[in-house]
Symmetry: C2
Subunit: 248 residues, 2 copies
């Protein structure tokens, strides 16, 4: 049986399906076929069925999926029905962008505390009315406020130390923006944000267009453009929690 090893890509796609289902709910659409769901999330229909099969039987053959029911199931699977308390460490450019976004909270990701090593910042308030604390108060605040997730947005040289501290304070989930390979215990989940992987994907597509004769490559068959992921990934931003504020 496969359900003991749920591919991480399946979890990511569940998140994408969920956002589309929420859009359908807003439009009062009660039933969606697997073909429609697959098309709008740009996922192969067989892949979609396989993804959902990890968790049980959701659809009715020939009818489709009950939108509300499927959304609820995915929400429960992903733990989205819970509000997660987040500590933001590093109130720089990225940290400020995350703080500014109102929908972030609305989607259940609630930044309740913010920390910065800069003594000039400590004690000041963010635009969301959070008082920025010194790093020295990190562990105590995490415990006192029962914080679930840490977003690390500090310079690379201090990221591991921050990670060690939040782990010691009981954090089991980390979103890391610092460009370092952080070591955390195996029971801690960590996700790293790396925009350059996406740039490399663009580079690949552009290079294929530029160099259609494929002179660099050993096989004689021409490459095609990247399938699936790019487009699937292009969906979820429509309902995304995250707004980057450019200068106003």
């Amino acid at each position: 049986m496969k359900e003991n090893k749920i591919p991480a890509a399946t979890i990511l796609r569940l998140s994408i399906y969920y956002r589309f289902l929420q859009e359908l709910l807003q439009d009062n659409i009660g039933v969606v076929s697997s073909a429609q769901l697959a098309k709008h999330t740009n996922v192969n229909p067989a892949q979609l069925r396989k993804d959902l099969s990890y968790f049980g039987r959701f659809g009715v053959r020939g009818v489709g999926y009950d939108v509300a029911g499927l959304a609820e199931q995915i929400s429960m699977i992903l733990g989205l029905e819970k509000t997660w308390k987040i500590a933001l460490i590093g109130v720089g450019n990225i940290g400020t962008a995350l703080l500014k976004h109102k929908r972030f909270n609305e989607h259940g990701y609630n930044i309740v505390a913010a920390f910065d090593a800069n003594p000039d910042l400590a004690g000041t308030k963010t635009s969301t009315d959070i008082t920025i604390q010194p790093i020295s108060e990190l562990a105590d605040t995490i415990k006192a406020q029962d914080i679930d997730i840490a977003i690390i947005a500090v310079p690379p040289e201090s990221a591991q130390q921050v990670a060690d501290e939040v782990v010691k304070a009981g954090i089991k989930g980390i979103l890391n923006f610092a460009p370092v390979r952080l070591k955390v215990p195996s029971d801690v989940s960590i996700q790293h944000v790396d925009f350059t992987i996406l740039l490399d994907t663009l580079s690949y597509s552009l290079a294929q267009n530029v160099n259609t004769r494929e002179k660099h490559v050993q096989k004689d068959k021409p490459f095609k453009n990247v399938q699936g992921w790019s487009r699937a990934h292009s969906w979820p931003v429509a309902n995304a929690n995250f707004v980057v504020s450019a200068s106003q």
Copy 2:
């Protein structure tokens, strides 16, 4: 034959392999086994071999991969040997963070022009000595400077208009930070950055820990934590191009 449909996930993993190979090269390591390469990039060895098989035969059975040769091949496949010229539209928090990072350029992603709708910003210089231009000069600059990629970091309400303009000016690759579903022609590659997908993945892992009895879910088998992707994804930041500067 499979090579006409290269999965996007393979392209992403090639980027990850490449960064590890670069690290090996820096350490003067000439040969790497597929087991080592798979282990250090946290990819299943069978998956690794399959990924590389799309592009030809790189390894020698029982010996391993020539590090320099494999790195060069991947670099050519991904188009990393080229310096890509980037226009940044929106010099807000995210835009500023991208501009600040020196290694960004070193990896071949060169922000050569920056634009902002704020008239107070137009004419001022970024910390990287780029003069910020008004959006009205976008198309002309893209054409004049032969820019390849646009990074869109503007508020959501103006993102589609910016996308239309850059596409009209000939851009074929877009990295989008605005939380909107941008429509672009099929010959334009677009990647959206959405941190909340990663947060949803963390939410899933945390929910599994919190709720080990799985009472919400229909199957009776317990879930395991997400396999592979999270850890694989945790690798590439070590050599990543992107540094988020927190407040100094």
